[in-house]
C-alpha cells in the first residue's frame, strides 16, 4: 500500500514537472528545429560551395514540395492524437492512377482534378471513421494501405496507367514566376494549414482533442468527427501529391511512391510535433520537410551513397524525436 502511494506521487510529480517545463519554455522546440536548419546551412556552406546557392535552394524546396504537401496534411492527424497514417503512399499512387485514367479517358483536367481529390478524401474519411470507432490508427491505415494498393493493382492489372495526352502538363510542369506549381502548392498549403490550425475553431478543437481526449469529450467536442476530418485532410494531401506527380510524369503506377509515407512521417517528427497529439505546428513540419530534403541534397552533392543518405535520415529522426521528448519533459 505504501509502495503504491509512493509510485502515485512519483507519477504526479513527473506530470507536474512536465507541465511546468512545457509552460516555462514554449520556444525550446522551435529553437532546436531552427538551430538544426542553421547548422545544416553552416556545414553545407563551409564544406560545399554549391550547397548554399539560390539555384540549389530552389532544387531543395522543389524536392521537398511533394513530401511537404503530404507532411503538412498529415500533421492534422498527428495533432488530433491519432499518431500517423501508413496509407499515404498508396493513396497517392491510387490518386495518380485515377487521375491518369480520367485524363486518358478525356474527362478534362478540372473534372479529373476534382474527382481524384474527392476519391482521396473519401478514402481518408473512411479510415477516419474506423479510427473514430475505436480502432488503432497505425494498424487500420496499414491494412487500408495494403487494400488500396491491391485494389489499384487489380483495377489496372498492375500496369502503368498513362495520361496519353498533354492537357495536364501545365499542372505538373508549370512554373509561374520561375517556381514550380508543386512548390507554390506546398507554400500556400502550409500557410492555409497554419491558419486553419491556429485561427479557426476547427484547429483549436483538433488540438484540444489531441491534448486531452477525455476533457474534450466532456466539453462536448465530437472526437469522431475530428478524427474523420483529420484523416480526410491527410488523404487529400496524398491525393494532391499523386495528382501533381501523375501530371508531371504523365502516368500513374501502383508503386509510384515507395518512400512517401515514411518521409512524410519523418518530416512531421523532425518538425517536432508531439506524437501523442495536442501540440504541433504546420510551419515546423514544412521546415522538417525542407530539412530532410536539404540533408539529402547535401549528401548527394558530397557524393554519398543511398545507404548513407537513408541511414543519416534515420539518425536525424531518432536524434530529433529523442531530443524533443527529453526537452519537453525536463527544465534545463
Amino acid at each position: 500500500m505504501k509502495e503504491r502511494l509512493v509510485t502515485e506521487r512519483v507519477v504526479e510529480a513527473e506530470a507536474a514537472e512536465e507541465a511546468a517545463a512545457r509552460a516555462a519554455s514554449p520556444w525550446r522546440v522551435p529553437v532546436v528545429v531552427g538551430s538544426a536548419v542553421l547548422l545544416l546551412l553552416l556545414v553545407g556552406w563551409i564544406t560545399t560551395p554549391r550547397f548554399v546557392t539560390v539555384d540549389n535552394a530552389l532544387i531543395i524546396v522543389r524536392s521537398a514540395s511533394i513530401i511537404g504537401i503530404v507532411a503538412v496534411a498529415l500533421t492534422f492527424v498527428t495533432i488530433s492524437g491519432n499518431f500517423f497514417s501508413l496509407s499515404l503512399g498508396e493513396t497517392a499512387s491510387f490518386s495518380a492512377i485515377a487521375f491518369s485514367f480520367m485524363i486518358a479517358e478525356g474527362w478534362g483536367v478540372p473534372a479529373a482534378l476534382v474527382l481524384t481529390l474527392l476519391l482521396a478524401l473519401t478514402f481518408g474519411a473512411v479510415q477516419g471513421l474506423v479510427v473514430a470507432a475505436g480502432a488503432n490508427p497505425i494498424i487500420t491505415t496499414l491494412g487500408a494501405g495494403a487494400a488500396l494498393f491491391g485494389l489499384a493493382a487489380v483495377l489496372t492489372e498492375n500496369k502503368t496507367m498513362r495520361t496519353g495526352s498533354h492537357v495536364a502538363d501545365w499542372l505538373g510542369r508549370g512554373r509561374p514566376f520561375g517556381i514550380p506549381n508543386q512548390t507554390w502548392a506546398f507554400v500556400i498549403l502550409t500557410i492555409v494549414a497554419a491558419l486553419v490550425l491556429t485561427k479557426t475553431p476547427f484547429g483549436r478543437r483538433l488540438a484540444l482533442v489531441g491534448s486531452n481526449a477525455a476533457a474534450a469529450t466532456a466539453t462536448g467536442l465530437r472526437r469522431g468527427t475530428i478524427a474523420i476530418a483529420a484523416f480526410a485532410i491527410a488523404s487529400l494531401g496524398a491525393g494532391l501529391a499523386g495528382m501533381f506527380t501523375a501530371a508531371q510524369v504523365g502516368q500513374g503506377t501502383t508503386d509510384q511512391f515507395p518512400e512517401l509515407t515514411i518521409n512524410a512521417i519523418a518530416a512531421v517528427l523532425v518538425g517536432g510535433t508531439v506524437i501523442s497529439g495536442g501540440e504541433g505546428s504546420m510551419l515546423r513540419t514544412a521546415v522538417g520537410a525542407v530539412f530532410i530534403a536539404g540533408l539529402d541534397n547535401l549528401l548527394v552533392i558530397r557524393g554519398y551513397s543511398f545507404g548513407v543518405r537513408v541511414t543519416v535520415t534515420g539518425l536525424a529522426v531518432l536524434v530529433g524525436v529523442s531530443l524533443f521528448t527529453v526537452l519537453r519533459r525536463r527544465a534545463v
Binding site: 487494400a147 488500396l148 485494389l151 545507404g307 543518405r309 537513408v310 524525436v321 529523442s322
Partner: protein
C-alpha cells in the same frame, strides 16, 4: 499474478476459423491437402510465424515495433555475409545481434520515455539505410549453396527452418506462461499504470519485449535469406503487414495485455492457408496483398464489434431502438 487467459471464447473461435479456412481450401482444391503443399504452407509459416511473434509480443506489451522489416533485412545480409562461419554459428550470431539491438532499443524507449512507434519508425529508416550500407547496395549471395539446401531440406511436411520456428514458438509460450518476467509483459500491456502501481518494474519487460522482437526479426531474416541463398538490402519491406495481420487474426488484442503464442501460431497458419489457397489458383502477388489488407481490416472491424464492451453496448442500444429486445441498453 496470472495473465488474463482468454483461451476460452477467443481461442476457440480462432481455432474454428483456422480449421474452417483449411477445410474450405482442402475441399475446393485437390492440390491443397497434399504433403508437398502442406510443406509449402509450413515454409511460409516458418517465416511468418517468427515475424508475427515479434510484432505480437510488442502489441501484447502495449507497444509496437515498426522496425521488424528493416531489422530482418539487416539480419538477412549479416547471415549471408557470415555464412562462411557455418550455418548454425551464423544464425545464432545474427539472432544475438538482433537481440542486442532490440535490447538497446527497448532500453532507450524506456529511458527516454518515448513512444515506441516513433522510436521504431526512426530505426525502421536507419536500419534500412544500414542494410544498404553493409551490403554495398547490392544483393549478397552465400558462398556455398549447400547451406540453402540444408535450411530448406524437406522432412515430410517440415524443414529445419519450420522446425526452428516451431521450437522458438514453444519456448516463447513456455517463457510467457511460466516465468514472472514473461507475465510482466502481459501486465504492462493490459493496464500500465495499474501494473506500475502494483510494483511491476517497467524497464525489464520493455527491454525484454524489444529484445525478443529484435531477435525474432533477425532470426526470420537470417533463415529466410539463407534458405534462398541471397539477401537484398531492400528486402522484407512488406513484412509488417502479414505479421500484424497474423497476430491479430490469432486473437492478440490491439489494446494490449492479451493474446497468446498459440493464437499467434494459429493466426499465422490461417493466413498461410489463405495465401496458399490463392497461390494455387495462380493469383498474382497484388491480389494476395489486397486480401491480406482486407483481412486485417475485417479483423479490426470484428474486434471493434465483438470484443469491446462499449461497442457491444451500442449494438444493444441499436437493437433496443429497433424494438428487437436488447436488455443491456443502459448506458454505463
Amino acid at each position: 499474478m496470472i495473465p488474463r487467459l482468454r483461451i476460452g471464447r477467443v481461442m476457440a473461435s480462432r481455432l474454428v476459423l483456422a480449421v474452417g479456412v483449411f477445410a474450405y481450401f482442402a475441399l475446393s482444391d485437390d492440390r491443397f491437402f497434399t504433403t508437398n503443399n502442406v510443406f509449402t504452407i509450413f515454409e511460409g509459416f516458418a517465416q511468418l510465424g517468427l515475424a508475427a511473434l515479434a510484432i505480437g509480443l510488442t502489441i501484447i506489451a502495449g507497444e509496437l515495433d515498426l522496425s521488424i522489416g528493416s531489422a530482418a533485412a539487416v539480419g538477412g545480409i549479416l547471415a549471408v555475409t557470415w555464412a562462411g562461419l557455418g550455418l548454425v554459428p551464423a544464425v545464432l550470431l545474427v539472432t544475438l545481434v538482433g537481440a542486442g539491438f532490440g535490447a538497446i532499443q527497448g532500453y532507450l524507449i524506456h529511458r527516454l520515455k518515448i513512444a515506441s512507434i516513433v522510436f521504431t519508425l526512426g530505426t525502421l529508416i536507419g536500419l534500412r539505410g544500414l542494410a544498404f550500407l553493409i551490403s554495398n547496395e547490392d544483393t549478397v549471395v552465400v558462398p556455398d549453396l549447400d547451406i540453402a539446401r540444408v535450411v530448406k531440406h524437406q522432412l515430410w511436411i517440415f524443414s529445419p527452418f519450420s522446425l526452428v520456428t516451431i521450437a522458438v514458438l514453444i519456448a516463447t509460450a513456455v517463457f510467457l506462461w511460466y516465468s514472472r518476467w514473461g507475465r510482466e509483459i502481459f501486465a504492462i500491456g493490459g493496464g500500465r499504470s495499474e501494473a506500475v502501481a502494483a510494483g511491476v518494474p517497467l524497464r525489464r519487460p520493455l527491454v525484454l519485449t524489444f529484445m525478443l522482437s529484435g531477435a525474432m526479426a533477425g532470426l526470420t531474416g537470417a533463415l529466410t535469406s539463407l534458405k534462398s541463398g541471397s539477401a537484398a538490402p531492400g528486402g522484407f519491406a512488406d513484412l509488417l503487414l502479414p505479421a500484424a495481420t497474423a497476430a491479430l487474426i490469432g486473437g492478440v488484442a490491439i489494446t494490449g495485455g492479451s493474446g497468446s503464442v498459440l493464437g499467434i501460431a494459429v493466426g499465422s497458419l490461417t493466413l498461410r492457408f489463405v495465401i496458399s489457397g490463392l497461390s494455387l489458383r495462380a493469383e498474382p502477388y497484388y491480389v494476395l496483398t489486397f486480401v491480406t489488407g482486407m483481412l486485417l481490416l475485417i479483423v479490426i472491424a470484428l474486434e471493434l464489434l465483438v470484443d469491446r464492451p462499449e461497442a457491444r453496448q451500442r449494438f444493444g442500444m441499436w437493437r433496443a431502438r429497433l424494438g428487437r429486445g436488447g436488455s443491456r441498453a443502459s448506458p454505463a
